[in-house]
């Protein structure tokens, strides 16, 4: 039995379940309470759980993320919502220098079991300062776990293992996915270790995550009509990367295109490609390729924004070039 549900509802159900099951869990962030969350994820939770556990915060990421880390150190299980990844830059110091490093700095005496949720990505005409995809930056940092749910099942299921993890876990929710609808199985069982093959193919691996997953799946559909069987790998976990699943797919397909909404230079895509080069070089039958965002601040104008982001035709063209077609 499955039921149809939106990504947003799936996140809310996960929050409610966590709040119900563990008295140490609380949600805090800008507008999460009375307003119901900027993306309406926590709508209704204030009435249900009260202001002790659904806490609106002042506009200071540095302050409330730091407070969340303190709460975690004090034995609670905070879920901190940072409205978007763009504003998380104000909290880089507590996230990177404190949460990620405290276990190491204390010789293992302290752990920081915090979960930080944030929206990421572009595509909604909110201009450069609200359209960044910085999950790849966080995936650079040892001590963090970085998750990117791209399906309703992952939206529903990733929070529980994230809370159970003794170390800080960052969950990136692509802003264009909140309205995504999907079938949710009755029993949700997901891990926060593995990548998943979302579509089986044999000619090329499309390796992607988050908001680019639906685009990769549509590209695979178009390629199938051209006789090219693309396999779509959803990374899901950006740190640590599941090398085994990536390499198994690449060894089978022998060609790979990484689709990543981050900028190309120094990107997560670059890291995935480097690992393939290190671990599966002799299995490759074509150069590695990637479809990333153009290296510009994401434009406000719709047509320019669309041109700057990875899109289905760009993915299809990249694959065709690898197949020796269209040349």
């Amino acid at each position: 039995m499955t039921r149809r549900i939106t990504y947003r509802e799936a996140l809310r159900e996960a929050l409610r379940e966590a709040l119900q099951q563990d008295a140490r869990v609380f949600l805090m962030g800008e507008d999460v309470g009375r307003y119901g969350g900027t993306y309406a994820v926590s709508k209704g939770l204030l009435d249900e759980f009260g202001p002790e556990r659904i806490r609106d915060t002042p506009l200071s990421e540095l302050g409330f993320v730091g407070a969340g880390i303190g709460a975690a150190l004090g034995g609670l299980r905070p879920i901190v919502e940072v409205m978007t990844v763009n504003f998380s830059l104000l909290a880089l110091d507590p996230i990177v220098n404190t949460a990620a490093m405290l276990r190491h700095m204390s010789g293992g005496q302290f752990s920081v079991p915090i979960v930080i949720r944030m929206a990421t990505g572009a595509g909604r005409q909110v201009a450069a300062q609200h359209s960044n995809s910085f999950e790849g930056w966080y995936a650079h940092v040892p001590g963090l776990k970085v998750l990117a749910p791209a399906t309703v099942e992952d939206a529903r299921g990733m929070l529980a293992p994230a809370l159970a993890d003794p170390d800080p876990v960052l969950i990136f929710e692509h802003a264009q996915l909140y309205n995504l609808e999907g079938e949710l199985p009755e029993k949700v069982q997901v891990d926060i270790r593995s990548a998943q093959v979302r579509r089986v193919g044999r000619d090329v691996s499309l390796i992607t995550h988050g908001g680019s997953l639906p685009k990769a799946l549509r590209a695979a559909e178009e390629l199938a009509a051209q006789g090219i069987a693309a396999e779509v790998v959803d990374l899901r976990v950006l740190r640590p990367l599941d090398d085994a699943t990536i390499m198994a797919s690449v060894r089978k397909c022998r060609r790979a295109v990484v689709v990543d909404e981050g900028w190309r230079t120094g990107s997560l895509a670059a890291e995935v490609m480097a690992r393939i080069g290190e671990q599966a070089f002799f299995d490759l039958d074509a150069p590695l390729a990637r479809v990333c965002s153009e290296e510009v601040p994401i434009p406000y104008a719709r047509h320019l924004e669309e041109a700057a982001l990875p899109q289905v035709p760009k993915i299809v063209a990249a694959v065709q070039a690898l197949m020796g077609k269209g040349q």
């Binding site: 299995d283 150069p287 690898l322």
Partner: protein
């Protein structure tokens, strides 16, 4: 730079596999020199080059199969500077003086020095396992790279070529294609003529008396010579039908149908038959048959025939009506020479007779010209001394 391309060695040839190079970069070559051995589906053929020059680069490596028209090698025309020598020259002379030639030559040198053929990592590994030279293959992948599939296709082709059964099948297919095309496209008409051979045979017997077996002239040579001379009188039967028009040939190169021991058939050219003495034709025919069966024909022999002659007399058949080998426009068939009743001067005699036939392309000639040709052939075979005399001076080797 002159490109040396894989020639078409017959209407049924679409591709060829390079077996061997007889030259290497830097070698000087002459017009007509055999430079490579190429395997068509029919035979291993010695391919000649028709430009003189200096071999610059071998583009195709042994084992590689390429389509007709593919550039096998490049050569430098006499006097053309080899690009590779330019840098040495530059080093020996002041930079300013040679700035221009260096700039012009630089891209060529950079390409030759800096790139190796693109072979994907998995293709390279697989090629090593299979013992295939991946760098010599034609790439179908991204940026023209040789892919795993290219290597495996080359391996499959190699094993197919190695299997004798498949080779016979390939030849059968090639013959099937050419003959089907012929019957599909060419409106054949057929004529036959019975030719008394008493004089010709008597002359031959006299001529051969006292000669070593290897020097004796066979009746087949006399027939070929007669065909060559008769075609000079009816040139409309000698040439090619291409692009909806007849292209007469300048010389008569008869394709001689030769059955191969393993089955199948080739019809390489005996060049300029009308203008050569019988003894020379005999030597050349013996050589041609031997090389056809050994599989070492020359490219010009495969591509030059302007008409085909088939002789099934050895098998004892009375007459043969052949299928024209496109784009040729006629085929002459000879049956066996047998003693049969013949009326000559009002008297019934036992005479050695030969049935000559003509299959001709009705798009080019009509029965009238065909009949003229057979009559000419008959008359020539009544004057063996004239055949022996050879050339009438009009014909030269193309």
């Amino acid at each position: 730079m002159i490109p040396f391309k894989l020639p078409s060695l017959g209407a049924d040839m679409e591709q060829g596999k390079l077996l061997q190079w007889h030259v290497k970069p830097g070698d000087a070559v002459q017009r007509g020199q055999v430079v490579a051995v190429v395997d068509t589906s029919k035979a291993a053929v010695d391919v000649e080059i028709w430009e003189a020059g200096l071999i610059h680069e071998l583009r195709v490596q042994p084992g590689e199969t390429v389509p007709v028209g593919a550039v096998l090698a490049t050569l430098l025309a006499p006097g053309e500077a080899a690009p590779a020598e330019v840098p040495a020259q530059a080093a020996a002379t002041p930079a300013v003086a040679v700035a221009e030639p260096v700039a012009a030559a630089a891209p060529v040198v950079a390409l030759a020095a800096a790139t190796r053929p693109a072979v994907s990592p998995s293709a390279r590994r697989r090629a090593k396992e299979l013992g295939i030279d991946a760098e010599g293959l034609r790439g179908s992948g991204a940026q023209g790279a040789v892919t795993l599939a290219d290597v495996e296709a080359a391996a499959a082709q190699r094993s197919a070529a190695a299997a004798p059964v498949d080779r016979a099948q390939a030849m059968r297919r090639a013959i099937a294609a050419a003959m089907s095309r012929s019957k599909r496209e060419i409106p054949h008409y057929y004529l036959s003529e019975t030719i008394p051979m008493a004089r010709a045979l008597a002359w031959l017997q006299q001529h051969n008396e006292g000669l070593a077996i290897t020097e004796r002239i066979l009746p087949a040579v006399l027939q070929l010579k007669a065909v060559g001379l008769a075609l000079q009188r009816v040139p409309q039967l000698n040439g090619f039908y291409r692009n909806d028009a007849f292209e007469p040939a300048t010389a008569v190169h008869t394709g001689v149908a030769i059955a191969l021991r393993g089955g199948g058939l080739v019809a390489p050219a005996l060049h300029a038959v009308g203008s050569k003495p019988l003894a020379q034709l005999m030597r050349e025919l013996a050589d041609l048959v031997q090389r056809a069966r050994a599989g070492s024909l020359r490219s010009s022999e495969m591509s030059d025939p302007t008409i085909t002659v088939t002789n099934l007399g050895d098998q004892g058949v009375e007459a043969v009506f052949g299928v024209i080998y496109p784009p040729q426009v006629a085929l002459v068939g000879f049956g066996s020479v047998a003693v049969r009743p013949w009326v000559d001067g009002g008297e019934l005699r036992a005479v050695p007779l030969l049935t000559a036939s003509l299959a001709a392309d009705h798009r080019v000639t009509d029965g009238h010209q065909g009949a003229l040709f057979l009559a000419e052939l008959r008359d020539l075979l009544q004057q063996p001394e004239q055949l022996a005399a050879g050339a009438d001076g009009k014909e030269t080797k193309a």
